[in-house]
Symmetry: C2
Subunit: 339 residues, 2 copies
């Protein structure tokens, strides 16, 4: 049967719609007898209120929205876990939307979340996102927004990131200290800030150690930085530059693609080519050889982003001023067999 309306309940009981609505919300100015009659009939008719758990006085819906480029990724999975943990503590639900790295979808998803009146939004931007009007829409709607991982420097909101440039710099300096000299880099695409920063860290580490930067040793992972990107670019670099002795990959998934190729063609790791990843996905300690990487605290990034968002939701609810934060979490080098 279709969802009954307040009007139907009112009509059946011979009372006003307002009284029905107040009864369902537990207003004190309605008699207990009336409230009971309304609730009993509502249950009997399987009535569902138009907005889940909406308290008419505070307009709070106990949901937040999360838009991420991809769900199925070593890093994002830990982030989601961190967000969900913070949300569950506060009895909030998280509506998750995947933008699939497409900015058009990202825009529609923002519209959806605003229309569903979520209390706040968490986002990591798509690889295609180059202008930020759609993000400013969230802010002009007075909905708290926290960006993490792939952020927009020009948008005025709280952000949680790692220092991608420093992390990449440390990774490449580590490789150089180990004696590697001809270091290739499999970078992410050109728009995302973290991809730009990891590349710049790589470049600076070479320069600071008097190694000439050679652009032909840099390969772009067009395929959204996944396993195939690693595998296919490994084929290219080994054929075009057999002299390389190490590869620094923008993510572990890419690095694992590299390792698969090198294993397939019998190139010893690290003896002939060392491999260094980024993010410390659990599989990096499972494959053979185990992958050296940057530990990227995904769970903590999720937890912290959500925590800041809930604080801002609360401050807004109480009409208190919000001071935006830019949090940078630390990273460490995890040394394993591949270097």
């Amino acid at each position: 049967m279709n969802n009954p309306t307040l009007k139907q309940i009112a009509s059946q009981l011979g009372i006003s719609i307002t009284t029905v609505s107040k009864s369902l919300k537990g207003y004190s100015d309605v008699s207990e007898k009336t409230k009971k009659a309304v609730i009993d009939l509502a249950n009997q008719l399987n009535y569902t209120p138009n907005s889940f758990a909406v308290n008419l006085r505070t307009k709070e819906s106990k949901t937040i929205g999360l838009i991420i480029p991809t769900l199925v990724h070593d890093f994002f999975s830990s982030v989601i876990d961190g967000i969900l943990e913070e949300a569950e503590k506060r009895d909030y639900m998280v509506i998750i939307l995947q933008s699939n790295e497409k900015v058009e979808l990202e825009k529609k998803q923002i519209d959806l979340l605003l229309n569903k009146r979520v209390d706040g939004i968490l986002m990591s931007l798509s690889n295609e996102t180059g202008d930020f009007e759609h993000l400013k829409t969230i802010i002009s709607h007075n909905t708290p927004l926290v960006l993490f991982d792939k952020i927009a420097k020009l948008v005025n909101c709280s952000k949680v990131t790692i220092n991608d440039r420093k992390a990449a710099y440390d990774a490449v300096c580590y490789l150089i200290k180990k004696g590697y000299k001809k270091i290739a880099h499999f970078r992410g695409s050109y728009l995302p800030q973290n991809s730009i920063d990891r590349f710049l860290g790589y470049k600076k580490a070479l320069e600071d150690n008097n190694i000439i930067y050679d652009p032909s040793l840099v390969f772009v992972c067009e395929n959204n930085m996944d396993f195939e990107d690693g595998y296919e670019n490994a084929i290219k670099v080994v054929n075009e530059h057999p002299e390389i002795d190490a590869i620094f990959a923008v993510t572990d998934l890419v690095a694992i693609g590299i390792i698969k190729y090198l294993n397939d063609v019998g190139i010893p790791i690290p003896k002939q080519i060392a491999v260094f990843g980024f993010s410390n996905w659990f599989m990096s300690s499972v494959i053979s050889p185990k992958l050296s990487t940057i530990d990227q605290p995904g769970f903590e990034i999720g937890r912290k982003s959500a925590s800041i968002l809930f604080d801002e939701i609360n401050l807004k609810k109480n009409n208190l001023p919000v001071v935006f934060q830019s949090i940078e979490l630390g990273t460490t080098i995890i040394e394993r067999q591949s270097t």
Copy 2:
């Protein structure tokens, strides 16, 4: 600024709220002049309608809901991709909720989706789900529901599954044909139908090949069938039953945990113990030794489930009868190095 109400727009223009509402929905019984005035003011005030893209006549919101136990899992990631592909074709958005294998959260999420008036719901049940009243709620609200993977036999709706029992039976028969005799099984928990069926397939394959079923060779993956389950149960089985020559794991992630342990302690695979997984996660062809497994068509399961759901949404919209389907997709054995 806060989202303006219809009342504010009506008041500012000196017209009724009904006229404002009709103007925004494009009703033909409002003059073009009035419609334009309303739309211009609404845009100026950054008005967002209360329900995204809702057409008052058809009540269609172009969203469906998806509730799955976990996002970050070899199998579910392909399923999500299949669902998103079908949704994008039809310009639908998918609200994704993760139940985290908790039935209480699953129930709240169903309430949320019904309250947000999604057009239909796709679900794979949590490991804890033992009774199905909350699923029947969806049906009694006349919202199309399609279950996949972990389904409820007793709920009257369309379902998309694989024949878990046959797939497991084939897997174990394959192991027996290869000469393995003392085959352990790392099973899923006791409630999910697919876990029960994979166990029953294992058992029947032993019986049909005159191998006595030994319950002490069966270990339960309590940890939601993940990597740690495989690793820890492998420690147990190797210590308690060193005579085993093969392990059939309920998922690839569990199998990879087994392989890690056996590699760590130097037990040769398959020479001393063979390992067989389930689902054909991409990492199963990357690790060493490469994992034999059952190919479980995750993407196709997602695609088919979504496709059936959209058909049922359309039939319902046109007041046509719906005949529920139970689709069983085929699986194949992928033979690799681990057996």
